[in-house]
Symmetry: C2
Subunit: 239 residues, 2 copies
């Protein structure tokens, strides 16, 4: 946690000792009354908080807000719903990398039961985004959709995005050397752990996706996401 993030309504109230952020302030940052530390409002400005008092129930904080951090990267990931532990890594590290939007879609080869994980049925997915943003010293969290079909996700794509699908098996060229033309935003589609089905490849091609690979080594889905987003950020001049 390199910056402590709050939703706007939270800064109106004292911070209960039961909140993990209170323990972090007292036990990791070791702040005592008068001490300051970095804070941010989710999707808002960064700033500094001062610990004013520690009562039996809560921490009393005051805030001085600065300016918001730069926007997230104009990269939208469409990804076949992976097993929950993989999705957790992608949510947290995707937010840390500053991906603008993540769209976890049902595909022919996804396991439908994964959509019933507590990750998605509770707000756990959102807490992972906040953790990733806090790691990256950013306040902005990606927009997330989950449970749509691949077709619905494609239909919702803005028209100005370059469209790239990762595929180890049917790609003519490498993502690292793909021409982005003059596009300044990218939609990147990754299959589920078991890859795209033939009808999905047809659907992607029919909607303007070009196929690219990440080399001949087979990477875990979460590692492929980090590698692909890093290459795209470099290609977009954001690294």
């Amino acid at each position: 946690m390199n910056i402590i993030l709050f939703y706007p309504p939270e800064v109106e109230l004292p911070l209960s000792h039961r909140d993990p952020r209170a323990r972090h302030i007292l036990e990791v940052l070791r702040r005592t009354p008068g001490g300051v530390f970095d804070v941010g409002l989710i999707n808002g400005p960064r700033g500094q908080a001062t610990l004013r008092a520690v009562t039996d129930e809560a921490l009393v904080l005051s805030y001085a807000w600065g300016t918001p951090p730069p926007p997230l990267a104009p990269i939208r990931l469409i990804i076949g719903l992976p097993r929950p532990q993989t999705a957790r890594d992608i949510l947290r590290e995707g937010a840390a990398l500053g991906i603008g939007a993540l769209d976890f879609v049902l595909t022919e080869r996804t396991e439908p039961g994964y959509a019933q994980s507590s990750l998605w049925l509770s707000r756990e997915w959102e807490s992972l985004l906040v953790a990733g943003a806090a790691q990256a010293f950013c306040t902005r969290i990606p927009t997330v959709q989950h449970g749509r079909s691949l077709g619905e996700a494609i239909a919702a794509l803005p028209g100005d995005h370059a469209r790239i699908a990762l595929d180890n098996y049917e790609s003519p060229g490498a993502l690292s050397s793909l021409a982005l033309a003059d596009r300044s935003a990218v939609a990147l589609a990754l299959g589920a752990e078991r890859g795209w089905a033939p009808a999905e490849r047809d659907l992607l091609r029919a909607h303007g996706f070009v196929f690219a690979h990440l080399g001949e080594r087979v990477l875990r889905t979460e590692t492929a996401c980090i590698a692909a987003v890093t290459l795209l950020k470099a290609r977009l001049g954001l690294l």
Copy 2:
């Protein structure tokens, strides 16, 4: 496990049911006598195995060997010893990415106790390399050193490697746009979780390291490794 890897002496003997690879062959790949599957000899050729028989004690296999996979990437990572769980991720994903060598060094800001983890005192570190190679459908595993000082690791570096140190705070430019001149191999130094100490920055500079950053977002060490190695592989024409 996209390919099942064996050390050379292992293929002389039947594979005990107690070996996790035996369970993988029977329960995940669901092979029955006569069935074939992809195998490799560690640091040797890939090939195909045939399940000849299943006895009460073991699986009897025969092998047909092909050619070895391409060499690993000429990238040597020098990394401040991180907490064991982070080191596990770096070992496994570093092997999957095909890094040639990993050198976990003690630095001023590493926690010396991390070197006493069972990860390093047992052979667990080696099993993670094999798991990463098997994920990547490769037989080659990186060379690993652990427990040397930063100075010893630098002294052991070949002279032909470009020398780059990642640093969020004192870097004039981005890794993605750093000139590699005509170097075809790279040594990349990453600080521990708490970064480089001033004397270590001086030491690195005195030995020809140039400093580079990965952007203004602060990434977890394991994510920074994946991102940096991906950029270097692309720069070296290996992606």
